[in-house]
């Protein structure tokens, strides 16, 4: 088995597990939908206010939803020993683990992108901003998954790592939040959004290339 086949089989395994336990993949999405519903109830349904704060709400909710799925990312593989097997293989661990990051993105990032028109509709976002929201999520969520995997790998040994993971990760998510919400806001006002989207893409590329090194180091550390 060469490393590409290994990569594909790791990805396929994660997807198959998710297909058998659909609620695990669906719960974060339902959570996202509910958080987005809470804001109009808390602030009032005035369309002006909602339109104004919609990008921020959707993105903050997306960050929180990403955190929800993280504790499962490596935990099962860690408990049944298959993660240790991956560490022992001659294939570079950092490369193999990107398959798990990709699986996480397919299960949590991509559904967010697909769900975004519905969220935009609920929060009264102008139609011009819909594609900007979808694009910002499409470009930003890979970085969320990659950074999230670092947090998940660092807290692998801990029984209750959940709150610690959020503590570690949320500060690192801030640049993405800033540029993504600004892109959506600009699109709503009919302004140019290429600059923000380009920066988002740059951050994602940088994160997805560098993060696997940290993920692999963190997984190795958790094995000792």
């Amino acid at each position: 088995m060469n490393s590409w086949q290994l990569w594909r089989s790791v990805l396929a395994k994660d997807l198959r597990i998710a297909a058998r336990r659909r609620s695990d993949a669906l719960n974060p999405l339902m959570f996202l939908l509910m958080v987005v519903t809470l804001f109009p109830l808390g602030i009032g349904p005035g369309p002006d206010i909602l339109e104004r704060i919609a990008p921020g709400i959707i993105w903050v909710a997306a960050l929180l939803a990403t955190l929800l799925g993280l504790d499962r990312l490596f935990k099962d593989d860690y408990n049944d020993g298959s993660l240790e097997q991956l560490c022992l293989l001659p294939e570079p661990l950092a490369y193999t683990l990107t398959a798990k990051v990709a699986a996480h993105w397919l299960l949590s990032g991509l559904p967010l992108v697909l769900l975004s028109p519905l969220l935009a509709l609920l929060l009264n976002l102008p139609v011009d901003a819909w594609w900007a929201l979808a694009l910002s999520l499409l470009l930003g969520t890979p970085a969320l998954s990659a950074l999230g995997a670092i947090g998940a790998a660092l807290t692998l040994q801990l029984q209750r790592g959940g709150s610690l993971v959020s503590l570690i990760l949320l500060p690192l998510f801030i640049p993405l939040l800033i540029f993504a919400t600004s892109a959506v806001e600009n699109a709503g006002m009919g302004l140019d959004v290429h600059a923000q989207l380009a920066i988002l893409a740059a951050i994602s590329v940088l994160t997805v290339t560098l993060a696997p090194l940290a993920i692999a180091a963190a997984v190795r550390m958790s094995m000792n």
Partner: protein
């Protein structure tokens, strides 16, 4: 080439070195801080725009700079700990993190207090204050992770990895916050320029910068000595060192 460094992987040798240097650093800290503060508070001229309130700069700016420098130093120690598996570098992380966090808190407090007479509110989402707040979160994350593990070495490694990830992200966070700040320049906030500073104000600032640098190093050294002793408590040299302190060993 690296041979001269090698003995300092040994805790006792490191302890002796730090112990020997600390009094000097502490003395110079006191002198330079006293000179910087008195010069800045009493002798530097008042700012023509902000009056005497600008004197807070003599703690705000140095603490902000060294809060970031301390994070960087912590990440360097983390890298050394991960690459060369040097235990003393691992122990430097819990020595540096609280000091850096304290510097961050000082920068936040002084920034907020400075903001009150200038902006009319205690907290404004100004670029520097916001990045300091995020830096505080990063410090909290590193410390929480370090102490979350039962095994000290695992905790140190986890904290090292996180510190390195944080240091890669720090410039991105810093510039994105700055960019965000120029974007959301509300009409109510009249952003005041940090004074483009005259030499009569600059000199005391440079002295207090030196003072805060030495202060940060001295505090880290104090904590680092404790960390060295804590991890070597079962070794004779540490026991001898501790029983040499008079007050306790005679009485209680």
């Amino acid at each position: 080439m690296w041979r001269w460094l090698h003995p300092y992987a040994k805790p006792e040798a490191t302890y002796r070195l730090v112990d020997k240097l600390l009094p000097w650093f502490a003395a110079f800290t006191v002198v330079s801080l006293a000179v910087g503060m008195i010069w800045g508070l009493a002798y530097a001229p008042a700012d023509y725009q902000q009056g005497d309130s600008y004197r807070i700069i003599y703690i705000h700016v140095p603490s902000a700079i060294f809060s970031m420098a301390a994070y960087f130093a912590m990440a360097v120690m983390g890298a050394i700990a991960l690459i060369w598996q040097i235990k003393t570098a691992e122990w430097a992380i819990p020595a540096i993190a609280p000091v850096g966090a304290a510097m961050t808190v000082v920068a936040l407090l002084t920034g907020a207090i400075w903001g009150k007479p200038m902006w009319g509110t205690w907290w404004v989402w100004d670029a520097r204050l916001t990045s300091e707040l995020i830096l505080l979160f990063l410090y909290v994350g590193v410390m929480a992770l370090y102490y979350a593990f039962d095994d000290v070495r695992t905790g140190a490694k986890a904290a090292s990895i996180l510190a390195i990830v944080g240091v890669v992200n720090l410039p991105i966070i810093h510039y994105s916050v700055e960019w965000w700040n120029t974007l959301h320049q509300g009409a109510t906030i009249t952003k005041f320029e940090r004074p483009s500073i005259a030499t009569s104000m600059l000199w005391p600032l440079l002295v207090s910068l030196l003072g805060f640098k030495l202060l940060t190093i001295s505090l880290v050294m104090m904590r680092f000595k404790n960390e060295l002793l804590r991890h070597e408590l079962h070794r004779p040299w540490a026991q001898k060192e501790l029983s040499a302190d008079k007050e306790l060993s005679d009485g209680v």
